[in-house]
């Protein structure tokens, strides 16, 4: 994967840049020695690494503004970083960039139950947002699987989803307001405790902009009262096609599950060997979860099971208790770990129309044969967000490249059937060069023009999201 050549003039001015940053931050908030900057050389896409020029760890909006003002004045690129859990390389530095980490900004600013929102600093982790309100039986709905570690800043940057999106939506549907610092140091306030921010929907375009439009330092998030309970049913099928039809029939029946998870045979086998969850050995397995009171759950699971029975399942297991629910979820929750036990893997994230599920799974199986690489599929079936896990051997020369090539073929397939490259992980550097598969030059140009407005010098996370060839003319102006 290609990254732009670092700007020599910036590298040569490192001492001056560090001194300027130290002048506006506490001493321990500026990291510049090589052995220390290496901590920030990558995020969860560990295949690519590059230590930054320096890293800064501001503690509040004013410090973020001061840092950005300095970098803006000196023409230094800035790569914002939440907790560094991006699977797409969203926080991958370049050698001439300053990493701006929000980890020290993790406070709760306000909780408001009557108006159902919480305001936090964005370095706070996703799970600890819920942690701050669960005493009152409230929660923050988006639940990416990295929620223990990932920061709200990164969630906003990537518009993160999770397993429960079918009912609760993704980050953008739960974000009410932000304090954001523009690249030139200007602090802007958008939205707040009210439901719509007014004017153009800037919040909507900032969410999911991968840290390219501004650095979000505080966020007002919608919180919801926890449901009385939730329980899943596990359903096994002989074929992917029938499992796909069952998903479609459940949705059409008017039941709205909070989650419909799908695992295929390779994934079931790996998971069983690893977690011994007691899953049936079959071609496709669904976990469908519903919420409500005990009686409401029974009623909904009854409707779902009736639909499933019409498709002749090989297994049908309705959870009756918290223990049974945990057993059903155990395998699904260990799926990534289980696959990691077998091999190195690359996790894809394309979304497809639910109706294309059987055809896409079949084609992925064929690609697996052609490339000679194993693939396990585990994904959010209700919303079509696939997570094919391609297995490869990082120690075998050429295997990573082969895996990336196969991943690109799968993602192009997702686009061909009417879907997209990424449903919740973001483009980052990983899918940057595939953007042409989804967008024509005019579509891309419209997006670049948005960045031109927020960051005319193209200094914020400039080498991400768009193919480098597309952004080159703008980045060259910035570097001059």
């Amino acid at each position: 994967m290609e990254m732009p050549t670092p700007n020599e003039s910036i590298l040569a001015r490192k001492a001056e840049i560090v001194a300027r940053l130290q002048a506006v931050l506490p001493l321990d908030a500026v990291i510049h020695e090589e052995r220390e900057t290496r901590v920030y050389e990558c995020d969860a896409l560990t295949a690519y690494k590059c230590a930054p020029l320096a890293a800064v760890l501001p503690s509040n909006t004013a410090e973020v503004a001061a840092v950005l003002k300095v970098c803006h004045e000196l023409g230094v690129p800035v790569v914002p970083r939440g907790s560094g859990t991006s699977l797409a390389g969203g926080a991958l530095p370049t050698a001439d960039a300053v990493i701006l980490g929000v980890a020290r900004m993790n406070g709760v600013i306000e909780t408001n139950y009557p108006d159902r929102y919480i305001r936090v600093q964005t370095g706070r982790t996703n799970l600890s947002v819920t942690g701050a309100v669960e005493e009152e039986d409230f929660f923050y709905a988006p639940d990416p699987s990295s929620q223990l570690a990932c920061a709200i800043a990164g969630n906003i940057a990537m518009n993160s989803g999770g397993a429960h999106c079918l009912k609760y939506g993704v980050t953008t549907n739960n974000l009410l307001g932000v304090t954001m610092v523009l690249m030139d140091g200007t602090v802007v306030e958008i939205g707040g405790g009210h439901l719509d921010a007014g004017g153009l929907d800037l919040l909507g375009v900032i969410c999911g902009s991968e840290g390219q439009l501004g650095v979000v330092t505080e966020a007002t998030l919608r919180i919801l009262r926890k449901p009385e309970g939730a329980r899943p049913v596990l359903i096994g099928f002989d074929t992917n096609e029938v499992a796909g039809e069952c998903v479609s029939d459940i949705i059409k029946a008017g039941v709205l599950p909070v989650a419909i998870e799908f695992m295929d045979r390779p994934c079931i086998e790996a998971t069983e060997a690893f977690a011994h969850a007691g899953y049936p050995m079959c071609e496709a397995l669904l976990i469908v979860e519903v919420e409500g009171s005990d009686a409401e759950i029974d009623m909904q699971l009854g409707v779902i099971s009736d639909i499933a029975r019409r498709h002749n399942p090989v297994e049908l297991r309705e959870s009756k208790s918290a223990e049974e629910s945990a057993a059903i979820w155990l395998g699904r929750k260990s799926a990534f770990g289980a696959m990691g036990q077998i091999n190195d893997y690359m996790c894809l994230d394309g979304t497809i129309p639910v109706s294309s599920l059987p055809a896409v799974l079949k084609r992925i199986g064929e690609l697996s044969q052609e490339y000679g690489l194993g693939v396990g599929n585990v994904f959010h079936a209700g919303d079509g967000n696939m997570h094919p896990l391609i297995l490869f051997d990082a120690n075998k020369p050429g295997d990573l490249e082969l895996c990336e090539q196969m991943g690109a073929d799968i993602l192009k397939l997702c686009v061909e059937v009417g879907g997209c490259l990424t449903g919740e992980h973001g483009v980052g550097v990983e899918k940057r060069d595939l953007m042409h598969a989804q967008f024509n030059p005019v579509d891309l140009e419209a997006q670049l023009r948005v960045k031109d407005v927020f960051d005319p010098q193209w200094l914020l996370n400039p080498s991400k999201v768009f193919p480098l060839s597309v952004t080159q003319s703008r980045r060259i102006v910035a570097a001059a």
């Binding site: 408001n112 999106c165 523009l182 802007v188 439901l195 419209a446 768009f466």
Partner: protein, 362 residues
């Protein structure tokens, strides 16, 4: 009037436009003060894709809203966000189009539970002020590929581009509806009751307060058995606020369309605040006719012509839009300086000649 019959014709019409264009769908949401030659989207009509099993519908921007809703109803599905029909309220005839709904981000009582129009909108095709045909988003409900221009276009009132096609995530319809009413409550108690209901686990899908009748309306939707259970539970939550009863004739369409204000002579404003500020708004607008929706977060207010409503609400966070009448000051709330600069910058990028609904949003 220009009436393109295809996206290509729409593109050509905008690229060749000699002066300002006023973009019209069904003409049922005449908000704002745009001028120019009328450009109608009525020719871009028709549902191009509907997959009930995938909860997805795609339609031309000029498709009548009624046609979209009828197609969904035939499969027992619906638009989650319950878009209002504004014609009667604003004193105009016509058939609302789905593109107009998106341009206005029109969202009814269910907004508090299911989100606004922009939350259900998953894809757009539009033509910008240069005549460029642009697509963003698509037909799948989870999509973070590139910037989200879908949301940016929703509620942009035709000032960034003219929509040619829109795609939605839809939801199943419901078996039954129950409305609980709490009577004899003032605005403080009403906001308290609505906040308690919306903070309960019983999935309230509508929360409105009519100060004239001193009645709070709370809506539950779903399967009948579940409704029986949740109705009883919610009743218990509400008892401390006032007299609670089930109203089988509750009219949520009247709430959605703010029908109580139809035919009025005063200036009609739509105010967005956090719900707990509702009573402050009420106090600041003594004598005005009010209706609270969205748990108190959306307030319709009819005041005497020319009244400085924004001045009266000074200090309360939020914004106000003039929906009808002469008002006082701009139709859309002025943004603070740095945001206004960003919005102006975006308009300059998407519509460099300033020909799309010029003067509409400020």
């Amino acid at each position: 009037m220009i009436r393109p019959e295809s996206e290509a014709e729409l593109s050509a019409a905008i690229a060749q436009a000699a002066g300002p264009l006023r973009i019209v769908g069904g003409g049922t949401r005449p908000v704002g003060r745009a001028t120019g030659q009328v450009l109608s989207t009525a020719g871009l009509s028709g549902i191009s894709l509907y997959e009930p099993g995938a909860l997805t519908i795609v339609a031309g921007a000029g498709t009548p809203l009624a046609e979209v809703e009828a197609a969904l109803a035939a499969e027992n599905q619906r638009l989650p966000f319950e878009p209002m029909l504004a014609g009667a309220l604003l004193g105009v005839e016509g058939n609302s189009t789905i593109g107009g709904v998106v341009a206005a981000n029109a969202s009814g009582p269910r907004r508090i539970q299911a989100g606004a129009c922009r939350d259900s909108l998953i894809g757009v095709r539009f033509v910008d002020g240069r005549g460029d045909i642009i697509k963003n988003g698509g037909r799948v409900m989870k999509n973070v590929t590139g910037y989200d221009l879908v949301k940016l276009l929703a509620g942009s009132w035709g000032t960034l581009g003219v929509l040619s096609e829109v795609a939605f995530k839809v939801l199943p319809g419901v078996e039954a509806v129950v409305t609980l009413e709490v009577s004899g409550v003032d605005d403080v108690a009403a906001i308290g009751a609505m906040s308690a209901a919306l903070g309960s686990p019983y999935e309230v899908s509508g929360a409105a307060y009519d100060p004239a009748r001193q009645v709070v309306m709370l809506r539950l939707e779903g399967f009948s058995d579940s409704l029986t259970y949740r109705t009883a539970k919610l009743q218990a939550v509400l008892e401390s606020f006032g007299d609670v009863s089930v109203n089988p004739d509750a009219d949520w369409i009247a709430v959605r369309d703010a029908r109580a204000f139809a035919g009025g002579n005063g200036d009609l404003w739509r105010i967005s605040v956090k719900p707990s500020d509702g009573p402050r708004v009420g106090a600041a607008l003594q004598g005005a006719k009010l209706l609270y929706d969205w748990g108190g977060g959306l307030i319709w207010a009819e005041v005497v012509q020319g009244f400085d409503l924004r001045g009266a609400l000074g200090g309360i966070a939020g914004h106000a839009t003039l929906m009808r009448g002469t008002g006082c000051g701009p139709v859309f709330h002025l943004e603070p300086t740095p945001l206004a600069a960003i919005s102006a910058g975006l308009r300059a990028q998407f519509d460099p000649r300033g020909i799309l609904n010029n003067g509409m949003m400020g």
